[in-house]
Amino acid sequence: MDMTYSPEHEAFRREVRAGLRAAMPAALRAKAEVDAHFEHDEIMQWHRVLASKGWVAPHWPAAYGGPGWDSTRRFIFAEELEAMGAPVLSPFGVSMVGPLLIQFGNEQQKARYLPKILSGEEVWCQGYSEPNSGSDLASLQLRAVDDGAGHFILDGQKTWTTYAQYADHIFVLARTQPEGKPQAGISFILCDMKTPGITVKPFLTTGGTPAFCETWFEGVKVPKENLVGELNQGWTYAKALLGHERTLVAGVGISSRMIRRIKLIAKDTWLGGRPLLEDAGYRAKIARLEIQLEALKMANYRTVAAAQLGHAPGPESSILKLRGTEIQQACFDLAMEIMGHDSLSWNNPEGTIPAREQSIAPQFNYIRAATIYAGSNEIQKNIIAKFILGLPA
């Protein structure tokens, strides 16, 4: 067992680090330095920068425009992105519908959609959850009815359609068969957001940003060629996607960067006439959190190393989302605690509180969603209890 990277991988790290630093526009770099919040257009700007280097979709096969990296290189690249505090790309195109089309789409669909996902010309959003179908996603009710004239007619409502207001396309899970086992009657359909009958209404999160939308479909006419794979197999496709790139869901790099940020805040915060970072009690609090992250990081490395050897993810990989999101929340809890009175400030003009603290309070609120979205942690526990521990039903 060893934790060193091969010389080739070390060289790769140096190369992408230098490449990323050189490529990042000054305005983004300035924001990254104080971990400021990135707006949608800044994220897309960064998307185009990465696209110009062919680095938008590390996990796509080279045939579709991926850089052809092995899994360790992909992990190193992600670590470097996170370490520099780069904007996080919208996952819906690059990480979700893209890989799904590569695996299950037909050639026309791939040719039509993949290049524009890579280039950033087209932005995607996801239509999974509905007001009455959250944890119980398979109960979804948005209907897609074959009109016998080459179209599906979509009727219903999606919610939590993140950044739908900026999206050119949406991929939806729709009910194409009302009878039988709920999972068996769902299809995966692509839909142009400009199609008549679609209404998007952004709503504020507790973080104060319009991250989510409600999206209504009323008689929305979608060409049948927008069906991905086979009719009524959408659930299978969506599930297949869930296992992808588990090592990224832990958010280890993001939390590492956050702990660094906490320490820098602590250095500039006063307690008893000296920097709070020098207080033994607070040092211990930060250390405990950092140790939790070290443990998770090791579980993550184990998964990465197994992937590099082509092994299936081990049981340790199933804890990554669960514990990773808890640690993300704990980071913001601790940051808010350390900020003291500053933590009460909300989106005030620059200079009210230090720049590095500015986006903490909104994120402290929004990060509560981390243990809810992408399969709530309770659902994750149900899955582990059943499929990994084999506990009786």
Binding site: S133, L204, G208, G272, G273, W346, T352, N365
Partner: protein
Amino acid sequence: MNFELSDDQKLLVDTVQSFARKDSPTTRFRELRATEEGFDRGVWRQMGELGWLGVMFPEAVGGAGLGVQEATLVLEQLGATLVPEPYLESVLLAGTALLHAGSDAQQQRWLAPMVAGETVLTLAHTERQARFDAFDVSTRAERRADGSWLLTGEKTLVPVGHAADALIVSARTNGAQRDLDGISLFVVEPSATGLERQRLEFMDGHKGATLRLRDVIVPPDALLGEAGQGWKSLELALDHGAAGTCAEGAGLLRAVLEMTRHYLTERKQFGAPIGSFQALQHRCVDMFVEVELAKSTAILAMIKASAADVGERQRALSAAKVTLATSGGFVVRQAIQLHGGIGVTDEHDVGLYFKRHHTLSTLCGDEQYHVERFARLPGFAPLD
């Protein structure tokens, strides 16, 4: 030993509760958080007329001559529906300082109109380097030849600082920056030249200001009590404020539990109310336990806030503040988790309670501050 309310207290609580539920549901808070002031001076006046602002002040200033217990009982009811009027700041914090340190004339001038609901007050003690050590004062006040005072310094993130008709400002008239001695309290009116108030938004939807005092001149009678002797009054005000945060927190947490219980009963997934799933049931029970503990220590705080012995008072208040932060922190976090996605939307109330809880945990000393204070009090020594 008796934790029943007296008949008078019961009447007061019922009235305030009925106002909070009927006349000030969270929709009113939502409307007001979008306004410049963040609260309604008309409602404030009404609170004055109903006697709520004066419960803990003497009859001489128009009060009812009752105590902190009654004031915190009012605040507990207001907390349940996030009533945004500045009761905590104006009555418990600034009010205590004026009551304890102010002369009769000063009380007539600044306390009486607040009790009547004509003005709002606030306490401006926070400085960046001080964290929760309110005795760490770098704002300076110098006596001028004519007896007036020259104030210089900055007070950060003062709740209600944007709207207060008079601000109680702590300033150092002698001693080193972290001395208990040498702290003085001054009443500063917003019209004072050299006073800059930068209006601020708070996370919980309340408003405030950062104050910059640049050679602000206040008259001789702006000094409350003896020069340099302000610490005891400031400390008492913050302790009363702490009791207030615990009381408001108790009201808030009960509402959060009820909201969550209700959601668990109504929301269906997998063909059943989600409150029928044992893991969520037990979580809700854990919340219930913490709410009862927070409520119990809030009662402790209400009773002991006026204890004659400072050690006894602070032991109770620190225990209550820590419990508000820890038990309450668990409750509001789990409340969002159990609400699922809807819990992180601004449309749902649970997030508003989450935010307000953070404010209440932070003001007047956070969890760590009070753990350490508790461990320094005489009552902590083992009895050998």
